[in-house]
Symmetry: C2
Subunit: 193 residues, 2 copies
Amino acid sequence: MSDPKTVKGPALYLALVHAPVINRRGEEIVAAVTNLDLHDLARLACTYELPACYVVTPLKDQQKLVHRLIHHWLHGIGGQLHPDRERALRRLRVASTLEEAIAHVEEEQGRPPFLWATSARGSGTDVEPSEARLILEATGRPGMMVLGTGWGLSGKVWRLCHGTLRPVEGRGDYNHISVRCAAAILLDRFFRK
Amino acid sequence: MSDPKTVKGPALYLALVHAPVINRRGEEIVAAVTNLDLHDLARLACTYELPACYVVTPLKDQQKLVHRLIHHWLHGIGGQLHPDRERALRRLRVASTLEEAIAHVEEEQGRPPFLWATSARGSGTDVEPSEARLILEATGRPGMMVLGTGWGLSGKVWRLCHGTLRPVEGRGDYNHISVRCAAAILLDRFFRK
């Protein structure tokens, strides 16, 4: 198993934010954790050698749920049957707030991460994911791609971010892909040269 | 709502194959349909203006399940609450076999589709998804990206395909992403110029 610290290239983290996010009426809510999001993002983190993916939720029972899931795959029967799943789920970490995740990355990497918000709508100041990679390569700082559940990140989260990534555009005007698929495409664009 | 027939560029279809696929011991099985796969692939089909995504399963009760899901979002309360989901789920079609899906595409497009198998392992004769797009542009034929559930497509399915797409490679040696995330990345690579 490769050690994330020995991987060449920038240290990029993921944060899957469940609060504060907005609902379809634009109100601030706490979204529920979706089991399959965690599996898919953990497997993506492993594929692209991200040191970790933070599951951000302030709800203690949801945090317990995530810890139980991780425990099942790391120490339960799950890991014995599917060692590739164990290897992936190891990269999940739980945080109560995005600020807590940021502080943790700074402690681990010795420097604060650049944060990029992601959204289905463009902001006019978006950077291409490949440009974001160049920023990390040029500065030597770690980075964090911030993904929102529900109907997207709230303004409070946006204000913690240094910039936004250009949204995934398709061939038409439809822009409602799942956070799982968005993360996959953005990571591929980030690392692909 | 844009009509797929008016979309510029090649007509690419998806097929999500549940049989015949293999299990982790390499045995031929029929995999169960996963609700979230259908949502994610339908939303991707809508994003990239694919005329349709075929859900391939020979099991009548699984076909009924898919029809019920589609009905819920097209005619039930689902579509009223989430019109973007209704728009996406419209692109799902059920087929008993991959051959049936191929015949349907040929009928719809007037020419048989080029088929590309997808896999987590390279085959030595893979083409880049962007090359596959060029083949469709040059020949004017429709195409179909064939995705396997379970542990991947069986040999019987491979023999129906004209070629294979280069697998998604990350930064390390881990190659176990979900079929949802693989489809997202391959479609993005296919259409991105």
